[in-house]
């Protein structure tokens, strides 16, 4: 029998038992839909975390003061005053994998405008600070180099601070805000970033020249951290090595001494965060995969029932000239059709379920085409694998016995 006829015969056979065919497919439908949805959710949460990390800065590296010893006593890292603007300048001139670098100092306090006030944090940085941290200026302008070095009393405000002090959506550029009794002229408003992956409001900030924060607010000469951008994500490891070399030298550390600073990259952060979701994705995918397997066993079961039920039909087909291979293909195609149709419906359902989850969670859920192709391929393989033994049994029946079967 040719393939077209075989497929027609198989479709007719499945149509004859609509309910049973549907229930058999249901196992595959649920399996495929859950594989696709679970992988999409996993991918979505991973992407959401990556987006959040990307919003923190572009190819960012940062140096924080590390542990150090004072006469054999381990000191905590917070009190360290080892990082200086000199380190920043050394990094800027010597590390070619670093394209932007800025000191960072910060202080918490109350911002006041008229009769409103709001507790926030002021960050002091250089001209490149916004670029490194992926901040956009939506109104006004960035801090200039001369302002940064000349401790000018200017600042940029985050959306949250602007909303709290000046009212929802108001553009406060040109106004003056007081922070720890120092008046700062607002030269610009920062674009919204939203919460970071730790649930912290990133828009609750003031950004001012680092010299201003150092001298006028903190009265200190050291800086709290160095913020940098690597030329590319691939070069962030190289940048890390270069920065370490430079800082070890400027800090005059001996060969056997530990670093008195820590370098972290955005890559590391992102890897740590996504490894959790990756495990989750594998777990969800595995559970969904098991349901797909159970669906396949359901097909095998029904195909066995079908072969037994249609023994006389098999006998008849053999007596009028059906060869073993014709019978084998007939049943094999039936089981492949069951699993492939089930798979197609499951894929549609998976898209639907992913869309629903996306609407409910506002995660950037994306169905991976890879998972669709995988699900489809697995379905076909399941159809062949679980259909093979029943079909094999059908084709090896003896026509005389099959015709006599009651």
């Amino acid at each position: 029998m040719n393939l077209g006829n075989l497929i027609k015969v198989a479709i007719n056979a499945l149509k004859r038992n609509k309910m049973r065919s549907f229930l058999t497919m249901l196992g595959i439908i649920i399996g495929v839909a859950s594989v696709i949805t679970m992988l999409a959710i996993g991918q979505g949460s991973r992407k959401s975390i990556q987006d959040q990390i990307a919003s923190m800065g572009s190819n960012m590296l940062f140096v924080m003061p590390g542990n150090m010893r004072m006469g054999g006593v381990q000191q905590g890292s917070s009190g360290s005053q080892r990082l200086t603007v000199g380190d920043v300048n050394a990094v800027r001139t010597e590390c070619d994998a670093v394209i932007a670098v800025s000191p960072e100092v910060r202080s918490s306090g109350q911002a006041v405008y008229g009769n409103s006030n709001w507790p926030t944090t002021i960050y002091g940085g250089g001209e490149e600070y916004l670029e490194i941290k992926s901040w956009k200026v939506v109104s006004g302008r960035n801090i200039t180099d001369s302002e940064a070095k000349g401790s000018a009393k200017v600042c940029l405000v985050g959306r949250t601070v602007a909303d709290e002090l000046f009212g929802e959506g108001v553009d406060p550029t040109g106004e003056t805000v007081r922070f720890k009794n120092i008046p700062f002229k607002i030269i610009g408003v920062l674009g919204e970033k939203g919460q970071n992956s730790f649930g912290q409001d990133q828009d609750d900030v003031l950004i001012a020249p680092y010299t201003t924060v150092q001298k006028r607010i903190l009265a200190q000469t050291h800086i709290q951290s160095i913020q940098m951008s690597a030329r590319s994500a691939e070069e962030s490891a190289l940048a890390q090595t270069q920065v370490e070399e430079v800082l070890r030298r400027t800090h005059k550390l001996r060969e056997d001494e530990d670093n008195d600073f820590m370098i972290r990259t955005q890559e590391e952060l992102s890897t740590t965060m996504t490894s959790v979701t990756e495990i989750l994705t594998i777990l969800l995918g595995a559970i969904a995969g098991i349901s797909l397997l159970v669906g396949g066993i359901g097909i095998m079961n029904i195909m066995y029932v079908s072969v037994t039920e249609r023994t006389r039909e098999i006998g008849l087909r053999m007596s009028i000239g059906g060869r073993g291979v014709d019978i084998l293909l007939q049943f094999l195609i039936e089981s492949i059709l069951l699993s492939v149709f089930g798979g197609l419906i499951g894929i549609l359902l998976g898209f639907g379920a992913s869309a629903i989850v996306e609407a409910l969670t506002s995660w950037p859920i994306s169905v991976m085409w890879g998972s669709v192709i995988l699900a489809f391929a697995v379905c076909t393989v399941i159809g062949v694998f679980f259909g093979w033994y029943p079909a094999r049994r059908a084709s090896s029946l003896d026509p005389i016995d099959a015709l006599r079967f009651e």
Binding site: M1, N2, N5, V9, N12, R16, R312, E313, G315, L316, R317, M318, S319, I320, G321, G322, R323, G324, V325, D326, P399, I400, L403
Partner: protein, 246 residues
């Protein structure tokens, strides 16, 4: 007339566990074109085995079997499937129609296993076969919408559709009442008159008398072969039956 079936010293043994059953113990049988042969015998006499071998569903242990001049005794499974498809038509006691499949599609079935025949020719031949058995107006009916006699007519149409050299009927009237049996026999006689060779297993003597020759089996041997002299005609037998009460 040429011999359609030529069987010489044919033996068939079955092995049931340790025991060997001799179903056929040396049979010679020649059936010529245009014959309508009754195969008779008690159950276990070997007549079913004979029919299975004639129909290429089973292979003999020993002996030769030429079907339409071709040696089919030693063919492979696939080769015998092809021979069945091209040269043999089967009619069974229990019709063996595919359920929920129209009469026309049931009749088309044998031709679907013949790759040379295209869909259109298949349909035309199936329609012609159904017309030949008087079911032109029932082509779209499902088996469960047809009476037993009509179902058997569909089965006969199916056995005709590949234009076989011999039709093998296995107690084809066994499930039918007397009147319907005679109607079916009348159809077989009509086909035989048109030149079809028919081998018909039965244990009903009046059915056997509708044919041209009877062969009686017992214990794996042919014990009697008779030309039927005073042949009955089913069409006339129907007229002799008492009128059915409505």
């Amino acid at each position: 007339m040429k011999a359609i079936i030529d069987i010489k010293s044919l033996k068939k043994d079955y092995h049931v566990g340790e025991v060997t059953v001799h179903a056929l113990r040396g049979v010679d049988l020649e059936i010529r074109q245009g014959e309508f042969v009754a195969i008779m015998g008690a159950s276990g006499s070997g007549k079913s085995t004979m029919l299975n071998i004639i129909g290429c569903l089973d292979r003999p242990t020993e002996g030769t079997y030429l079907l339409d001049g071709v040696d089919v005794a030693s063919m492979s499974k696939n080769e015998s499937a092809m021979i069945r498809n091209l040269k043999i038509g089967f009619v069974f006691q229990s019709y063996n129609l595919l359920s929920r499949t129209s009469a026309l599609e049931n009749v088309e079935l044998p031709l679907m296993y013949n790759p040379i025949i295209k869909a259109r020719e298949r349909r035309e031949r199936a329609i012609a076969a159904l017309e030949a058995v008087g079911l032109a107006d029932r082509m779209g009916h499902m088996p469960n919408q047809l009476s037993g006699g009509q179902q058997q007519r569909v089965a006969i149409a199916r056995s005709l559709v590949n234009d076989p050299v011999v039709i093998l009927a296995d107690e084809a009237t066994g499930n039918l009442d007397t009147r319907t049996s005679y109607e079916i026999m009348a159809l077989f006689q009509e086909l035989n008159l048109k030149g079809k060779t028919i081998v018909f297993v039965t244990h009903e003597p009046d059915i056997a008398r509708c044919m041209t020759r009877s062969v009686v089996f017992r214990d794996g041997h042919i014990i009697r072969e008779d030309e039927i002299s005073n042949r009955l005609y089913a069409a006339e037998m129907i007229k002799a039956l008492p009128v059915e009460e409505e």
